[in-house]
């Protein structure tokens, strides 16, 4: 079979079940394709040639015992982790093996993949473009059929945004849905591990596998996510669309992305949903709020890389890591703490309230909008302008601050590059966003398009 690697996770499971091919053939096919394609993309930092089950790719910030874990940084070059993350333990009980560790922005800090100390990952749709970040390798590997599915981490959009820019499905679960144990922390109150997959039903399946918390993550819920019902249409559902500011350029939203969005809303309406415009007044502060909290937490979370252990000196930190450590240290310093961290925490609760208002008072079942204001940009285009890079997170950070789930589903193309539709749901209601995403996906089939590699 020549196109084993183009199968979705669900299709792969069923083919293995009916013995259309063996697990060895499956791994051989993926390893062969990695050998052919990955030199172009640089999506893997490590390839495990002993993978012998259903091959998944793991972002190199999640511990797999005995494998390297660089977090995309030189400071951890050569570091082999001695234990498994909870998600890894859970996947191992589901006949999954780990075919490789994927490239990423250093310590998950970046929106383009260019902050990796091991070279930028390329977008499979156009290798002169960025794949998004920080789960850049995971998204590129899924888009290029270099694994059955991948795990990423999302702090402010790091699963959803690269999924959007690479034309695949990315799910950031609710904060606390999946144990974070084994994922090097970036913004501890925001981080979530989630799947990047070829379809929405694949994402649903992986979430079932990795949910249900553990003893270690005190913020994770001990409940297994299970899908109760699937939908054939969207009748009776109310979908909120966030009203844009009068001057749309504020968010830097591309007109072509806007056009794609409007088509997607139209499609959702045709599928039976009621579309309702909603106002989220606190959203305009979300970037500042997100960066104040995330940077503060980063400065503390990266303190353990003090040059005493793990072999490498602090000078090995990349520019963006240094920038964030310094900014975060400043934000927490005495005399500034109240102005940054405390104020940001207040606005964070306002953002949560805006969501509650939309979901409860306005009775929206989900809220939709763009994932990224633009499609994938040219490598190098924003590296000298960190602020422009930060602003590209504008649509993803509100859900991160509120801890609610978000899904990115392919919804079209602009200039030949994928555009993602973001579907946000109530806290712990991944079910509804997955249902809406799946109905939309089956009706549009954007996910069937593959990059020409």
């Amino acid at each position: 079979m020549s196109d084993i690697t183009s199968l979705t996770l669900v299709e792969t499971l069923s083919a293995l079940n009916s013995k259309e091919f063996s697990k060895k053939e499956l791994n051989d096919a993926y390893l062969k394709r990695i050998g052919q394609i990955d030199p172009l993309l640089n999506s893997y930092l490590y390839v495990n040639r002993d993978s012998d089950k259903i091959p998944a790719a793991i972002k190199d910030i999640i511990t797999v015992s005995g494998m390297q874990m660089t977090c995309g940084s030189k400071i951890l070059d050569g570091y082999i982790t001695p234990y498994n993350a909870t998600v890894i333990e859970k996947l191992m009980t589901k006949d999954i093996s780990f075919i490789g560790k994927t490239n990423m922005d250093e310590f998950a800090m970046g929106s383009s993949g260019e902050n990796s100390a091991y070279g930028a990952t390329k977008n499979p749709w156009d290798i002169t473009k960025v794949p998004g970040g920080s789960s850049s390798g995971s998204a590129a590997a899924v888009a290029a059929d270099l694994c059955t599915f991948a795990l990423g981490t999302d702090t402010g959009g790091s699963i959803r945004q690269p999924a959007s820019l690479c034309g695949v499905v990315g799910l950031k679960p609710s904060y606390g849905r999946v144990s974070r144990y084994g994922a090097q922390a970036m913004g501890s109150s925001l981080d979530q591990i989630g799947p990047i997959t070829k379809t929405v039903s694949d994402a649903r399946l992986v979430l079932e596998w990795i949910s249900d918390g553990d003893l270690f993550d005190s913020n994770a819920e001990k409940t297994i996510f299970t899908s109760k019902k699937r939908l054939s249409d969207l009748k009776g559902l109310k979908i909120g669309v966030v009203q844009l500011n009068e001057n749309k350029s504020d968010a830097g939203l591309d007109l072509s992305v806007l056009k794609t969005m409007e088509d997607a809303y139209k499609k959702l309406s045709e599928l039976g949903a009621e579309i309702k415009e909603i106002v989220m007044p606190s959203f305009k502060y979300s970037i500042e709020t997100y960066y104040s909290i995330m940077l503060s937490e980063v400065s503390s979370n990266l303190a353990r890389f003090d040059g005493v252990r793990f072999g490498k000196s602090r000078s090995e930190f990349g520019l963006e890591s240094k920038r964030r450590i310094i900014l975060g240290t400043f934000a927490l310093s005495s005399g500034y703490f109240d102005d940054y961290f405390v104020k940001a925490s207040h606005i964070r609760s306002k953002i949560k309230k805006d969501f509650v208002k939309a979901f409860v008072e306005e009775k929206c079942d989900v809220i939709v909008g763009p994932v990224s204001p633009t499609v994938a940009w040219t490598i190098g285009e924003k590296v000298d302008n960190p602020l422009a890079m930060y602003l590209s997170d504008v649509y993803t950070v509100p859900a991160s601050l509120a801890g609610i789930p978000g899904l990115s589903v392919p919804c079209g193309f602009s200039d030949g590059l994928p555009v993602g539709l973001q579907i946000l749901g109530k806290y712990m209601d991944e079910e509804t966003i997955l249902n809406v995403g799946e109905v939309y996906e089956l009706a549009t089939k954007w996910h069937k398009r593959k990059p020409d590699l």
Binding site: Y83, L215, N219, S296, L332
Partner: protein
């Protein structure tokens, strides 16, 4: 003439004797163990590891709060205290800052003039210990066995005015920890660590001085008292010379008997505290808090008073017996076992204090027997005694001569010889009398 008065506050770290560490399941019993054997990804601060709260430690902290008459909070929050040190695995210590578990307590101490004084407890909060560094020549080794062992930090208000109070406070705190069974509170092993904030002000001055000298890393009551005394002298001298005193941290040099500068204010840390995002706030119901009060039997001060009243013990005996809860319990078990033997409580107390039985090994009933047999006197017949005395005197004619010459000391020698020959405990007075009679 005394110009100044002393203002002292104490910070005491107590290491809890819980089964596991504060935020992981490693054994907390690290003392004397092979380095880096009680470790896991959590207490080593490996990338990806997360802390989870040890309930036993929180309960111990609440018990301490109760014992110190604190107000125990139903809501409390862990925060990160950020600083760099090689023994600090994560680059921050999980501690409590704005929302400690226990606040506003008090404990009564005795002052230098014998009067009693309440020392206010500002807070008792939960935190974790660091690893341990050992320096060998140019090398420094790190042992993470202690990393993450639960600590409770007890902070007083600046209420101490003399070192007698400090000593009494530390002793009482130690006795309380042992009594409620939350810590061995052994200073030499580092189970209990004292830090003092010392400053002085003009007599009558109401406001606190605008500086304080922190005395740190002092590992005995005696050294702490000496260091504080030294500081009071040093600061008084400087102040009377018109010099300004500064905020600084000082250590104690036991050889030279002086304090020395460790860190000046300019080098003070900004710990950048912020709520620990990996741990949810702690909520404890008033019922649970109340229940933990029941876990506390009786505090040492109360036991001491009870021993004095119920057993008619003197302050001295009662104080020694209540220093250690195990010893106090043993005393009462022996009392119970000695019922109807005619052995009084005072006798039991003295026997325990003087004979120092190994309370882990000697059963209370056996100890009663020991006291009993030591008191038991063999009723020897008059004739039998006289025969033996005669024999002893014959065999020790030289001693008898000395005795006759008035050498009193040989009398006890002769008594001993008689008792030895009898082979049983007999009334020594009778023996003395018999010897006296025979020699005449």
């Amino acid at each position: 003439m005394k110009q100044y008065e002393t203002v002292i506050g104490l910070e005491v770290h107590v290491e809890l004797s819980t089964k596991s560490k504060m935020f992981c399941s490693c054994s907390a019993d690290y003392f004397g163990k092979e380095p880096n054997t009680h470790t896991c990804p959590v207490c080593l601060g490996l990338p990806g590891a997360l802390p989870y709260i040890n309930k036993e430690a929180i309960e111990s902290c609440i018990k301490i709060g109760h014992a110190l008459n604190c107000n125990i909070k139903t809501q409390s929050v862990f925060e990160r205290k950020n600083y760099f040190y090689p023994d600090l695995a994560k680059g921050y210590q999980i501690s409590q800052y704005r929302w400690p578990l226990c606040v506003s307590g008090k404990i009564e101490v005795v002052s230098a003039d014998g009067t009693k004084k309440d020392i206010r407890i500002n807070r008792a909060h939960q935190e974790e210990d660091t690893g341990k560094l050992s320096h060998r020549g140019r090398e420094t080794l790190i042992d993470f066995n202690r990393s993450g062992v639960p600590l409770v930090e007890i902070v007083t208000e600046p209420d101490f005015t003399d070192t007698v109070q400090i000593r009494d406070y530390a002793k009482k705190l130690q006795a309380i920890m042992r009594s409620i069974g939350v810590s061995n509170a052994d200073m030499e092993r580092g189970d209990m660590r004292l830090e003092a904030n010392v400053s002085i002000r003009g007599i009558g001055q109401k406001e606190l001085p605008n500086y304080r000298v922190e005395l740190k890393n002092i590992n005995s009551f005696r050294f702490m008292v000496a260091a504080v005394e030294y500081e009071i002298q040093r600061q008084s001298k400087l102040l009377s010379k018109g010099e300004r005193l500064h905020q600084e941290t000082r250590g104690w040099n036991e050889d030279k008997k002086i304090t020395y500068l460790q860190r000046s204010k300019e080098e003070a840390h900004d710990y950048r505290y912020f709520p620990e995002p990996d741990l949810p706030p702690i909520f404890i119901s008033p019922e649970e808090i109340e229940k933990l009060k029941g876990g506390i039997t009786e505090l040492p001060a109360a036991t001491l008073e009870r021993f004095k009243k119920d057993y008619q013990l003197g302050e001295y005996e009662a104080e020694i017996l209540t220093r250690d809860k195990k010893l106090a319990d043993y005393f009462e078990q022996v009392i119970l076992a000695s019922e109807n033997t005619g052995i009084g409580a005072k006798k039991v107390a003295n026997e325990i204090i003087n004979k120092k039985p190994d309370i882990e090994k000697v059963l209370p009933a056996d100890f009663v027997n020991q006291i009993h047999s030591s008191q038991q006197v063999f009723a020897i017949g008059k004739a039998e005694l006289e025969t033996i005395v005669k024999q002893v005197l014959e065999e020790n004619s030289k001693a008898v001569e000395d005795y006759k010459k008035g050498k009193e000391s040989v009398k006890m020698f002769l008594v001993g010889q008689v008792i030895r020959m009898v082979g049983k405990k007999i009334d020594t007075n009778k023996v003395k009398e018999a010897i006296k009679k025979s020699i005449k």
